[in-house]
């Protein structure tokens, strides 16, 4: 049996929309069984999609479907390359309808599209389940939405039944890759080592360019050729679950031991226990071996029995977030920016907790409580940008913060420029673990 190749066309909502075409072209030229995934659903992305669906029930799926899928749909269907993605977000059926419309528009016969559901716990029944498993301090908070992480099995079953596109909501990111591998090799759901190997292949692919030189380049230390045109990754997954990661042909970027190690450990906690709905993966003894130019093998991943519970992310209404910025430059700029900060503090501090940044002096490495900022000596920076941020349950208070930054135009220190203000609704979050039998996954074909 020829090995399965799985490519990644996107690694987050907002990723490049021209990355998938070279991946598909490479898969076609390789021949043999293949699939392409689009991972587009961060925790926050889904929570905001839930809010959007509430405003408009036809929405709440990933709008970038249009730009991501249209260019590759015909080729994927013609060459039997299934598309697997969580771009269904809060509305997989809405996404499926959109895909059917795109196919029709392209003059293609209606593709066989499956949706995976069961992850959404935002209705009254779901909220009731969640309420039993979240920590007591969250009880009574204004519930917004909840989704449970589902696994690869339903994706695999849909593919075995001929799905050309599988649209999911919340599934564990690596399950998007394990699904096609499971469909291809027919592993038992207790073949833990194979499941874990393909899961880690999925982990390497799930962030797109992050394994092919993206999020890696550091001039002089970690140089990446052709970063502007970095190719997106393709993993050839073997029957034992090990894989060789490469990238789309005739692209920039880089796959080497360093890029693979950085992505292998990305967002991992205990490397011996990477928990997914499908398996507990263990990379304690995994090996990363360069086997060719831009080709790296990952082997030696072990697997342990899958967890009895599934993780759910739960979101609550979190009030409003607001921020404002203003720049000062030239002689004595830092002192003027610090004076502006004191003005804002005097006028706003009674109303809400504030975070200040002096961009160019002390900013992102600092903490929200300002300990690092307070410990940063006053200097003589000549090009700095003051930022203030705060949150409040009441939108009007956040608007007042923005208004006070705006007023610095005329009432603040000399020479302030480039005021920008912004506000957005905020969601706060927690997670909990729910016995899997309470939240069964399912899939269905949609016309």
């Amino acid at each position: 049996m020829k090995e399965l190749a799985v490519g990644a066309g996107a690694g987050f909502s907002g990723d490049r929309v021209d990355a998938a075409a070279p991946v598909v072209k490479t898969l076609i030229e390789r021949g043999g069984p293949a699939a392409i995934i689009f991972e587009m659903l961060a925790e926050r992305t889904l929570a905001f999609a839930q809010l959007e669906r509430r405003r408009d029930p036809s929405k709440g799926y990933e709008p970038a479907i249009e730009l991501q899928v249209r260019p590759i749909l015909a080729d994927c269907i013609a060459h039997g390359i299934p598309i697997v993605s969580n771009f269904g977000a809060a509305n997989p059926r809405g996404a499926a309808a959109r895909l059917q419309a795109i196919a029709k528009d392209l003059g293609l016969p209606a593709p066989k599209i499956a949706v995976v559901e069961g992850d959404d716990l935002s209705d009254a029944k779901g909220a009731g389940i969640v309420a039993k498993y979240i920590a007591p301090e969250f009880a009574g908070r204004p519930f917004a939405s909840a989704n449970v992480y589902q696994g690869a099995l339903e994706i695999a079953e849909a593919l075995r039944k001929g799905a050309q596109v599988v649209v999911t909501g919340r599934v564990a990111d690596p399950s998007l890759v394990l699904g096609p591998a499971l469909a291809h090799y027919g592993w038992s759901m207790t073949d833990w080592d194979a499941l874990a190997g393909a899961t880690m292949a999925g982990h390497l692919l799930e962030c797109g360019a992050q394994v092919t030189g993206g999020y890696f380049a550091d001039p002089g230390m970690k140089d990446v050729p052709g970063l502007a045109n970095a190719g997106y990754p393709i993993a050839e997954i073997a029957r034992d679950g090990s894989c060789i990661v490469g990238k789309a042909a005739n692209t920039g970027g880089l796959v080497d031991a360093r890029t693979v190690k950085e992505q292998l450990l990305y967002e991992l906690h205990d490397p011996a226990a990477y928990l997914t709905p499908d398996v507990v993966a263990d990379i304690s003894d995994a090996e990363v071996t360069v086997v060719g130019k831009d080709r790296v093998r990952l082997s030696g991943v072990r697997g342990h029995a899958r967890p009895a519970t599934l993780k759910a992310n739960v979101f609550f209404e979190g009030g409003w977030f607001g921020e404002g910025e203003i720049s000062y430059a030239g002689r004595n700029a830092e002192a003027r920016a610090r004076l502006a900060m004191e003005v804002l503090r005097e006028r706003l501090a009674p109303h809400l907790a504030l975070r200040f940044d002096l961009i160019g002096v002390a900013s992102v490495l600092g903490d929200d409580d300002g300990r690092m900022f307070a410990a940063t000596p006053v200097g003589h920076a000549t090009d700095v940008r003051l930022r203030v941020a705060g949150t409040h349950a009441d939108e009007a208070v956040v608007e007042r913060l923005m208004g006070e930054v705006t007023a610095l135009w005329t009432a603040g220190p000399a020479g302030g420029g480039g005021v920008r203000t912004a506000k957005r609704k905020r969601l706060s979050t927690t997670s909990c673990y729910i016995p899997r039998e309470l939240v069964p996954a399912r899939f269905a074909f949609v016309e």
Binding site: M221, P271, E287, G318
Partner: protein, 111 residues
């Protein structure tokens, strides 16, 4: 007699990447050269990393060692001001924290 050594930032011999889940940051630290891995293991301890991130008040720092890939993984609990949805930081994920870790000073044998 102690062998002569010089003090350098980790940056010169290791690379890494930050990830986040909720209020927890995970930072990988990977030796460029296998022969430097033992130096990392010996000197980049949980205690030193906790002290290096003191402003973030980590509730706990846990180190995991991966000798086969010459890497370590640090998990810092409670350092993201509530995490991506709650933090007021411009960098609400704490993406920049790996490069802060790489500023940690270590001693290497003098050439």
């Amino acid at each position: 007699m102690t062998a002569p050594s010089k003090i350098i930032p980790l940056y010169e011999i290791a690379h890494g990447r930050t990830g986040d889940k909720g209020d927890r940051s995970s930072i990988s630290l990977i030796a460029y050269r296998p022969e430097h891995f033992a130096i990392l293991v010996e000197q980049v301890t949980e205690e030193r990393v906790a002290a290096h991130f003191a402003y973030r008040r980590p509730a706990k720092v846990t180190r995991y060692v991966l000798p086969r890939i010459h890497a370590m993984n640090f998990v810092l609990d409670g350092v993201l001001d509530g995490g991506v949805n709650d933090a007021l930081n411009l960098d609400m994920h704490g993406k920049a924290l790996a490069f802060h870790l790489l500023e940690l000073q270590i001693a290497v044998p003098a050439p």
